[in-house]
Symmetry: C2
Subunit: 257 residues, 2 copies
């Protein structure tokens, strides 16, 4: 993966573990001159970028970090913006395109997105195959989308049969929307609906819980967690959470299993 002078590559580190880094992402990290990112994610690849210029900010410095990355590229540097998971899902790619669109002087600045494994895939792999037939992915952060819009989205998808993954489910202080979301799904799908929580999906410190929606240990849910709410096809058997397929009865010949 060649990066041109004056270009930003927005890269996804997946879980951050070496086993989840794609060759394309590793080549971009090698080829760039400047690495921008939230410090916790830069930590995942810090040894690989020794000696390179860094633009690091804390969790709330997203706009500042993206502006600095755009400015570095505008000055002719080869820039990597690192994200966890996939850069196009609840990460930095969107903000870079949005900031570029707001500044006519940046109109021609190339932004390339190098995909990664998103947290929903990492969490699903840890649990079994609960997203097999499709799903909805909603963030409960009201920094990204106003809380009323989040509520409207939750109510709409709760009326479907699709499992739902909740990203950014709760912060230390921000816990009300999680409680509301669980209430919406209890009402629409029933208290016995299968549900899961995975913290640090795909990493050695991974922690998993599977049970009924009404029993979810809400106080264990934090910003490193993904909450998954099942649908009518969700099953939990032999320790695996998975979605049964609609055509099972048709195709899995009788008496064979």
């Amino acid at each position: 993966m060649h990066i041109n002078s004056g270009e930003i590559a927005v890269i996804g580190l997946g879980s951050g573990l070496p086993q989840h880094l794609t060759p394309e992402v590793l080549e971009a990290l090698e080829a760039c001159e400047v690495v921008a990112g939230y410090s916790r994610y830069v930590d995942f690849i810090r040894e690989r970028i020794a000696g390179k210029e860094r633009i690091e900010t804390g969790m709330t410095g997203e706009v500042e970090r993206c502006r600095a990355a755009l400015a570095a590229a505008a000055s002719g540097k080869r820039v990597c913006m690192v994200c966890s998971g996939d850069p196009g899902i609840l990460a930095m790619a969107g903000l870079l395109f949005e900031l570029r669109a707001r500044d006519a002087s940046l109109a021609d600045l190339p932004i390339r997105v190098l995909p990664g494994i998103t947290a929903a895939s990492l969490a699903a792999a840890a649990l079994g195959a609960p997203l097999q037939n499709g799903f909805c992915l909603i963030s409960l952060s009201d920094l990204l989308v106003p809380a009323d819009e989040v509520r409207q989205n939750l109510r709409a998808v709760a009326a479907s049969a699709l499992p739902v993954t909740l990203y950014n489910p709760a912060g230390r202080k921000r816990r009300d929307l999680l409680a509301e979301a669980l209430g919406i799904f209890r009402e629409a799908r029933g208290a016995d609906t299968l549900c899961a929580c995975v913290r640090h999906a795909g990493r050695p410190e991974e922690w998993r819980w599977v049970g009924r929606l009404t029993d979810l240990p809400e106080d264990q849910v934090d910003m490193s967690s993904l909450v998954l709410i099942g649908g009518p096809r969700t099953r939990y058997e032999n320790g695996a959470l998975f979605e049964a397929r609609g055509y099972a009865e048709k195709y899995l010949a009788d008496g064979e299993a």
Copy 2:
């Protein structure tokens, strides 16, 4: 990635290109004795598995292929089941767990899911960042879920503000549900809603179309395509399709951009 004797690793090849194969997946392909998969996906890694036993079937041989893979593992072999994209999203992981759950003699057979980059991430990266704030992922194949349930899901999510990706949007003969889906979204979100189609996402033969929902060239949509329907936050500027963030007005200081 060590595979034990008698274990199945279900692996995701992403786009199938070497640049999207994770180290974990490559190690599993190296470590296994038997490779099972749809021939088109096995083609992506055929040179890497020279000399290994293969269980290949065509597109409709999914149950047969999964049963043969389970039987091979039950006989003590180290098995890889290859999928494109992520194995847990519209791929083979769910069916393996389902078949295992139906056969008491397989109850202890370990199935490990090694995540990959799903088509939604590959297509989004090609377009910009249209899934940035969350999205719904729905398959239009009525082999997986009955058509009436697909319609119910489409109507439910159309009432949200979330972009929607349609997997398996249409086959050579199966095109009615795509027409219906587009009608549901035109009605709920308006004919001017931004929309995209990406064929062979992330591969050299990739083909992209972006425009208004009402102008989508339906006859160009096939089983290698992903259709994306935007929401009220979707923008198309400087050739990039992306979702604007709700907090832009709050955080992007006035007069700066």
